[in-house]
Symmetry: C2
Subunit: 287 residues, 2 copies
DNA sequence: TCGGATTACGTGCACCGTAATGATC
DNA sequence: GATCATTACGGTGCACGTAATCCGA
């Protein structure tokens, strides 16, 4: 069998034309390369070069061999990366979600069931989440629309409903409820990592009026320091986050409430079954 | 990069289950294999086995790696054979023909133009000759039917006409010409290597009456020693083969005469151009 | 006690580099 | 005299084997 290092050297010679240049690139001496090429020819039982006593050039057979060499080298490289990648995936659960709240809820549930494994999380939109699920970039995803497809296992997770937080002297502060249209004329504080909610805000509010922070801490500072409106949700409030100096008003719109679904590949339903049931129980307990 | 010998060892371990068995098969000691597998894991940066202190079994990643290993090994093997095969083809012209006479004529013509190369010849039927031409098993073929296909270059070669050779006292000896039907009731001597003529004989004569020799010498002996009819052709007689003790009568049938064509792949027309023109000239000279 | 993996240690070969030689421009 | 391949020779790393150890049925 031909060893890889010989194929690497052959490929380098093919690429650089002379033994000298190839040897430089390979951090090797010409004699070593010269011998290697001879060895290669001996092992294959054919001559790969036309030797002109001061110049070697690949002959037809040599060119043919180089094609094989490149294919084998490519496969070898692919193996190195592929195996490492596969291994990493074996030890990590990648969770993708369309919104931060359900992700924050689900992550500890997963971690609890897969103590050995790393849990990585990511926000994205439903479409990318689904394709990522199918190409194994994600093992679990949280969506805000029930997905199609017999290859998927999907379970209802929880609901979330948006509220607006206003200073007490805000023109809308006395309202029982508001709509997105009511809010259109006001500036609103937002953090960028809110998943699909950002789309909703961009669509239903005036994009010019959105003051978006990349950093959660920055947002909290601004909430403290300013009197600008910002969003919250029933779920967040349940977790005890509220501000007695402000009023919190529900947004009465379909766009302001959503249902989350957890999904995985049907083929991995068994593996993640514990997560699904734990998630269901957690929701029931929380009610 | 992972060397081939490590992949071979991995594949053997995967195949035989234990290091011990695999080591035997590989003519290697267990320690060597043990180290190799560790080295492989180190180079890939992953663990491939579950080690149970007295038993190693491939884990998921290991199984995944084995798949790659097998693919790479297969490609490496394919390279060894493929390159040797390619080289052999570079140095040989394989000629296939449907009949021995034109093959015997053309072979020296080819050899003259490709002095460096080996010329191998083979008899077969038109169909196999054409498929062999297309899959590069033959570089040149001699057919008795003009082939279809834009990928082929084809040139008329020569005609051949069949005669029957009879003892002077044979019932048909006085005839100016005969048909296959006239010959049906008589035993006929044949040699097996006559290409497509054999099909004609089997179809037009009584197969039971054909006395087929595998060996040309055996045929010649029998021709001398017996008074059985046998075939010859205008072309063979031109070459001076005739027997004054016998009469030679033409067979007046379409099936008893044929036209030969030489063909090669269009893509190799340039390479074999000299053969085609030399063949044409030889035929003209011979008339 | 046997099957099977690992550790420890010494050895040889195969691949490498340096230096010299050859060949062509 | 450049450039580039090959031959010659001496060095070294690394893959190997042997022997010893460990562990579980």
């Amino acid at each position: 069998m031909i060893e890889i290092y010989l194929l690497e050297q052959l490929a380098a010679v093919a690429e650089h034309g002379t033994l000298l240049k190839a040897a430089e690139v390979l951090y090797l001496s010409q004699p070593a390369l010269s011998r290697s090429m001879k060895k290669l020819e001996a092992e294959l039982g054919v001559s790969l070069f036309d030797r002109d006593n001061s110049k070697i050039t690949l002959n037809k057979t040599g060119q043919y061999a180089v094609e094989y060499a490149r294919r084998i080298l490519e496969l070898d490289r692919e193996m190195c990366e592929g195996v490492a990648d596969f291994d990493r995936r074996q030890r990590t659960v990648s969770v993708g979600a369309c919104a931060p709240f359900p992700l924050g809820e689900l992550t500890p549930v997963i971690q609890e069931r897969f103590v050995e494994m790393a849990v990585t999380t990511e926000l994205s939109d439903d479409e990318k989440l689904l394709s990522g699920l199918r190409n194994r970039s994600y093992q679990l995803v949280i969506l805000h629309e029930k997905p199609e497809g017999r290859d998927l296992f999907c379970q209802h997770y929880l609901e979330e409903k948006l509220f607006i937080v206003l200073p007490k002297d805000h023109p809308l502060a006395k309202r029982k409820s508001v709509t997105f249209d009511d809010l259109r004329e006001y500036k609103v504080l937002l953090v960028s990592s809110i998943g699909f909610w950002m789309e909703i805000c961009r669509k239903r509010l005036d994009p010019e009026k959105l003051i978006v922070q990349n950093n959660m801490d920055a947002l909290l500072e601004l909430i403290e320091a300013s009197t600008l409106p910002h969003f919250t949700s029933d779920r967040i409030m349940e977790r005890g986050f509220s501000n007695p100096d402000r009023v919190t008003i529900p947004i009465e719109e379909d766009d302001a409430k959503t249902t989350y679904y957890i999904a995985c590949l049907n083929s991995e339903k068994k593996k993640y079954g514990a997560v699904f049931s734990a998630a269901r129980e957690a929701v029931l307990r929380g009610m």
